[in-house]
Each structure stands twice: as C-alpha cells, then as structure tokens.
Symmetry: C2
Subunit: 150 residues, 2 copies
DNA sequence: GATGAATGTGCAACAAAATTGCATGAAAGT
DNA sequence: ACTTTCATGCAATTTTGTTGCACATTCATC
C-alpha cells in the first residue's frame, strides 16, 4: 500500500466509472500495471465492491429517520433476534448495536409516514422486545460520504 | 422507468463492475440498448455516481461512533455554522440535522480513541455552539446498505 | 559488495467491450 | 390512417481490458 495505491483508491472511491487507461494516466502508470494494482486491491479486500449510488429522492425514498431503540431483554440472543428482524426490512438502511443509553440505532429510508407507521408496527410492537424507541426525523443531510479518508 | 430499468438499477447497485454486455444478457437486451438505458439513468440523475466501497477496517478506520449533538443557539445560521464545521472533518462520515431531543447526529469513523478525543476538542469545545453531546460507540454493524430498494 | 529471489513495471499483441450510425418496428397522439 | 416519437437490434469502428514476456528494482542472504 504505497502512495500510488492510495491515489488509485481515492480516485476509485469518488468515481469508479472512469476507464483503466484514464486512471493509469492520472497516477502515471501504464494501463497494465494500473490494472494489476487494482486487481490486487480487490483481492486483498481493500476494495469491497463497485456499486452505483442512486438518488434516493428519485426512487421515492424521500424521508430519512434515525431511531434509537432500547430493548427489554438485553441478552446476546435477544439483541441478535431484534437486529435480524430489523435488517430484514427494506426501509432499514443501517442498523447498529451501540453502547450508551440505548441498545440499537437504525437509519431508515422511507417513502412516506404511512410506511413509517407500518414499520413501527412490525419492529416496535408490544410483542417485540422493544422497551422504548425514539425517532429523529432527518431535516437536512449535510454529509453522507461513502469514501473513507486515506 | 420500467421493469428493465429497475432490474438494471438493482444490478448496478450491488455490482457495477460487471460489463455492459453481461448486464445486457441478464436483462435480455442488446448491448447497445442496455448502454443507452444506463446512460439515460445517469443523465436523469437516478444514478448519482459509480464508486468503490472500501473496507474501513483495512484502511485503519476501525471505530465507529454515533454522536447526538444539542446546540446552545438554534438559529439557522448557527446550525449551518456547526454543520459546516462538522462536515469539514474527515472522520465525520455522515451529518444530519434532525428533529427530536437533539439538533444534529453525526456518524464518525475513527482510527482510535485519541482521534476521537482530538475531534471532540475541535467540535464540542467550550467556544463552540455545543450545549451537550452524547456518544454511542458502535459495537456491531448489522447492516450498512448503499442500495436503495426499488 | 556480490548474488539470487521476489516483485513491480512497460511494451506489444490479442481478445473483448464500448460506442456510433443506421434501418426497423412499436407506441402514442393528431 | 398518418405522422411523430422513441426504443431496439445489427454491424462497423474505436476504445479498452488482458496476457505473456523481458527488463529493472528492491530486499535479504551469503
């Protein structure tokens, strides 16, 4: 992982649609060397995958919400059970087990409040293991970065 | 945005590294038609960009933390000022202005606790506009999905 | 310092993919 | 029924990805 690798990773993190020859040009390498480096970074698992980032608003997911969840029973199996329930939901974009006053934090991407209502029903209903949940609707997304600083 | 477009978007959301001919094959289209559809989805802004997703652990960012922040002054300019301060930090991966008991939620990706300490100094110090902040360290990431359900 | 293994590099040739122009065919509106 | 619009497939062309090979560089061992 030298300077050139980092440069390649930074380029790929922000725009992986450019061609190999263009990238080789930018880092001052021949296309073949450049390609071999990228393949190695992929084999090593540094590059997990190449994906398209869609505009959520253009696909109807206009609402975001952060929800903190406090469980009734805190055993490992109960935690896992709730997380499995949560990650099975399409609207749950991120799910974390955390330290602090709560047990779980969820990031939701919703079409409308009706979907939120239905989701609360499925995840936070009386029969589930949820003692309390607290919702923070996202007013503004100031930053949402997929790139990792190197 | 018909069935084929959605199929293409789903393929691209999970693996944008496959070739155009492979994708054309999967959706049952000729390569040229497939390419034109993808270009249109990009022009329309449905596809925002193509990026490489790196493994944060392999780049030394092993700690994640969620921080809720309560401001002292709640005016729009104060909010914007704090958000601008936050998004300037490399360790801040996500930053949201939210409703609920707090004003801002940050998602941090940290190398170690020392970096967290230094970051708190810069963002939550006495001279800043922060009344209170509450940290939840991430124990487990159960889900972290870049794809939007269609 | 010399030697040898290991690794990375550029070049050239080849294979494969992206891209474009064009003609055909379907759908929509007049 | 007619025109317009739009998407599609085909074929030709350009561009890119890929591989084998010889050479240079680094590093460790003698």
């Amino acid at each position: 992982m030298d300077r050139i690798d980092r440069k390649l990773l930074n380029l790929l993190q922000h725009d992986a649609s450019r061609t190999n020859v263009a990238m080789a040009d930018e880092v001052g390498l021949s296309p073949s060397s450049c390609l071999r480096r990228i393949r190695r970074l992929r084999r090593n698992g540094v590059i997990q995958r190449i994906v398209a980032i869609l505009n959520p608003a253009k696909t109807g997911r206009v609402l975001k919400a952060l929800v903190t969840v406090e469980l009734k029973l805190h055993g490992e199996q109960h935690m896992r059970q709730f997380l499995n329930l949560a990650i099975g939901e399409d609207a749950v974009a991120q799910a974390y087990a955390v330290t602090g006053g709560v047990d779980v934090v969820l990031m939701l991407q919703l079409r409308d409040m009706e979907e939120f209502d239905a989701l609360c029903d499925r995840l936070f209903r009386d029969q589930t293991n949820v003692a309390r949940f607290f919702t923070m609707m996202v007013i503004r997304t100031a930053k949402n970065e997929t790139a990792v600083p190197l």
